[in-house]
Symmetry: C2
Subunit: 301 residues, 2 copies
């Protein structure tokens, strides 16, 4: 770990622990006939993953002195949406993955029906958490979060990205660079953008600062996606904690397959530079966000 | 059709037409690489079904002079959630149904991946619609609708009911009467209760009236479920517009299999009486809601 990321790893680990506690509180405890559903919801959310999205919510919130409880609830809601999307993407009818975050995917650990329902209920629970009074005393703030999350996650956002991804596998010719860019903006970028922006919404920040954080999130998300594709192309499954080499196997066009490793790396670095520049309006409280931008392209899993 | 239901059929048909127009506006038009996803979202929502839940929203809203646009948006949101649940329930890993509302189920008309994603995006879109300013000028009203819908549809509501239903099929012994009652309250009752209550939320009605409408919805939902099970036991697939006789085939315990046709009918009638009694606080504007209670147990599809 180089000097850019000193302190970041500890902060991310602390944040992940806080999110685990938050998720434990916000998700139903396994009991009764629904125990299996509740277990599956917890299995895919608590105790795994980098928590990049939730971390963005927490660090964005810190710029505006948002209360820890508010920020943590929104961070947990985002992680629920992210987990739901992974559960459904891993299903046999979709990417058909057996391994996720170093353990069996939901439909392998439970069964397909339970995995579908756990994903469904995690999405609902995210909106339920945002709607709760504890998230923010002002209902206008809560409903704005609901509106933005629904836009980022739905048919004009994350789900559209996954649909494009499925369609690309069937298509006669591979996607070009701009089509791949759009796919990835929808599939992962929109949710990361929302995560970066959410703190500004919670803190009722001026529009210019909210937009800057959103733009930071967009560039960060694009860099993150290239890094993910680079990992898929170069890491072993053990290192990545999930199946790798799948993109090439599935004939999936990524920026890495299109540009080659070296040019893809350069593009990711350029995106990170741009992401950091959007933070120029912020003081040293944004240093972890600055380090995070570097981290996303240097990470090894 | 007897005297109780005169006028109701026309009103329901008018409401269904209005919802079709609303859904056409509120759902994305098929274009671009996501066209298939958008088509699937529209296929399962526009132009089909009784629209019981949306009708309840519209008629509940009428008691409190809620604007047509507000009521229609909430009605459409509910129908999106209902449609999403049907798409996912019909999947091969769940109930594995080929026929729904007289046409092929979503995964038959499209494919499994598209059906999963269309369901996912319909749920998100419902929350997006509720969060929109056009739904109600007061953000406190909009966020209350989000909170109530999320509670009714999620891990403590509809999805829990479906999980119980799946678990019951695997169980060594059939459910008893109280377990079936709880399953059905969760699986269909909660969403119908919300639908009946939503107009009171939009109209900022006194708590007593809101509770009365909710209670009406709960009883109506229970009666509706028994009627559905009676149809499954007695109607042909052509009459019902979906596969019938499935409950017995799957060894599913319902109140009909437990009590027998005659006692189940009597119980449904008692529930309808109770539902109507909760409307005693309302004037003649609630007559269609009164007629609806009778209709749900007399319908033939």
């Amino acid at each position: 770990m180089d000097q850019h990321t000193i302190g970041l790893a500890d902060a991310m680990a602390d944040a992940a622990r806080a999110m685990d506690e938050g998720l434990d509180q916000l998700l139903p405890r396994p009991e009764g006939g629904e125990a299996r559903l509740f277990e599956a919801m917890r299995y895919s959310t608590i105790g795994g993953g980098k928590r990049l999205r939730g971390f963005l919510v927490l660090e964005g919130s810190r710029q505006f002195n948002v209360s820890h409880e508010s920020a943590l609830r929104v961070a947990c809601a985002i992680e629920m949406v992210h987990a739901y999307s992974l559960i459904h993407d891993d299903l046999p009818a979709m990417d058909d993955d057996d391994l996720r975050r170093g353990k069996p995917t939901s439909h392998k650990a439970f069964d397909e029906a339970t995995a579908i329902l756990a994903g469904d209920a995690l999405q609902t629970q995210a909106f339920h958490v945002l709607a709760g009074e504890e998230t923010h005393p002002d209902p206008a703030v809560r409903i704005e979060l609901v509106r933005l999350l629904a836009r980022a996650a739905g048919a004009r956002g994350m789900v559209a990205g996954q649909a494009l991804d499925m369609a690309a596998e069937q298509a006669a010719q591979p996607l070009d660079e701009s089509q791949i860019g759009r796919l990835q903006l929808l599939k992962t970028g929109k949710l990361i953008e929302f995560s970066a922006e959410a703190g500004a919404v919670l803190g009722k920040a001026p529009g210019s600062l909210r937009m800057a954080l959103g733009a930071y999130g967009r560039e960060l998300g694009a860099a993150f996606q290239i890094a993910d594709d680079l990992l898929d192309a170069t890491a072993t499954a053990e290192q990545a904690g999930k199946a790798t080499g799948k993109d090439a196997g599935a004939g999936k066009a990524t920026l890495v397959s299109l540009l080659g490793l070296e040019r893809a790396r350069i593009q990711a670095e350029r995106l990170v530079e741009q992401a950091r520049r959007h933070l120029d309006l912020f003081d040293e409280r944004a240093d972890l966000l600055r380090k995070l931008a570097t981290y996303v392209i240097e990470r090894r899993n």
